[in-house]
Each structure stands twice: as C-alpha cells, then as structure tokens.
Subunit: 122 residues, 2 copies
C-alpha cells in the first residue's frame, strides 16, 4: 500500500478530518443549520486563515459544502461520508461489546468472592 | 483550542489512527486473533520500521496492545476506543439518514413526473 493511497481513499480522508476537536466543533455547529464562515469562526481563538484551513480539510473530505447561490456562501453539513465511517466502526462493535462483557463478568466474579469473604469474616 | 489539544485528546487520537488503510488492515487482521509483528507485517510491501511506526500509532491510540507475558509479545486488538468514536458518529446518524431520505423523496417525485410524462406521450 503506497503512502498516496493512505492520503486519498475516502474513508481515510473522513477519519483524518474528524481527528481534530476544532473541526468536530465546526461540524457540531453546522448540525444546527448552515452559517457563514465568520459566524463559524467566532467561538474559536483562531485566525481566519487557520479556520479556513480547517474548512478546506472538511470540504475535501466531503463533510461540508459551500453554497454557490448565496453571496455570503454559507457552509452546510454534508454528513454522508460519516455513514461509511460509522459502518466501518460497526463491524467492530461485537469486539468492544465483548470486551466490556468480559470485564463485567470479571467484576461479577470479584464481587461474588468479596461477598463470600465478607460472610466468612462475620 | 490549542494545537496541543488537537493532538492529545483521546477521540482525535482514535480518528487519526483510523485514517490510514494499512492501520485499518492491521486492525482487521487482529480482529481474527492476536499475532506477532512479523505475521502482521507479511501482507504489506513495507519495511519493518514502517510497520512498527503504524503499530506505535495504534498503540498510542489504545487500539492495540502488546502482551508482556509471552516472549514473542503478540499484538492484540483493544477496541474500546472505537466505542467513543462510534458514539460521536452516532450523534450525526439522523443527519445522514435525513439526507438520504430527502434524496429518496426527490427521486420519488422525479419518478412520478417521468411516469406522468410517459403516459402523456402514449
């Protein structure tokens, strides 16, 4: 697998775009409705060029789009790429659920032992 | 938000680790059971140091762990961080489902128009 495939496949672009708290906060804001770049930038202590770079990463991953019709070119959420990312993760759901179940089993055994010990010391 | 928070919060580490096809392939292999680094590296046209770097990214994100007891130190899947990533994505499920529903509505309308037009031209 080349370095190029790592930077260009759609699901990698999605995960990379989501790997930043500012970009996730931008998506959370856009989930409330479309808005201007200026309004999007307002909550962050960040320069406009820095915000623009984040928006470009999100746009390149297909997670947001900029309207062409309106003069203020609002940003809006285009969440479809998240579906593919969620489906990829879903294939592993059984593994983390199993892990938690095992931990739960272990804790149940420990609790039972503790109760037994408690009874003996009475 | 500082650059530091972007590189250290758990969910960002998880998404960043998943943003690479080689690392996702390694996780898919480990879902079948624990194995050695040599066996993990076998399907990839990649140097051992390159594979080791990928494993370090996965280990740093908590997605894999290396056993300490066995001399061959097998790698195993520790999928718990994926749960947090899946939960983050789940909050957006309604948005991508809505988008697809809207597309579906649009296609239904287009189909109805097409049928109407077809009837007129008969």
């Amino acid at each position: 697998m080349s370095l190029n495939s790592a930077t260009t496949d759609a699901i990698s672009l999605t995960f990379a775009a989501l790997a930043d708290p500012t970009r996730r906060a931008i998506l959370a804001r856009l989930a409330l409705g479309q808005t201007s770049v200026t309004e999007l930038a307002a909550p962050f202590e960040m320069s406009m060029p820095a915000i623009s770079r984040h928006l470009k990463v999100l746009e390149h991953a297909g997670l947001i789009s900029r309207a062409r019709e309106a003069q203020w070119r609002p940003c809006r959420l285009t969440p479809e790429p998240m579906k593919q990312a969620a489906e990829w993760l879903d294939a592993y759901r059984q593994y983390w659920e199993l892990s938690f179940d095992r931990l739960d089993d272990y804790l149940q055994v420990m609790k039972a032992k503790e109760t037994k010990r408690g009874r003996k010391s009475r």
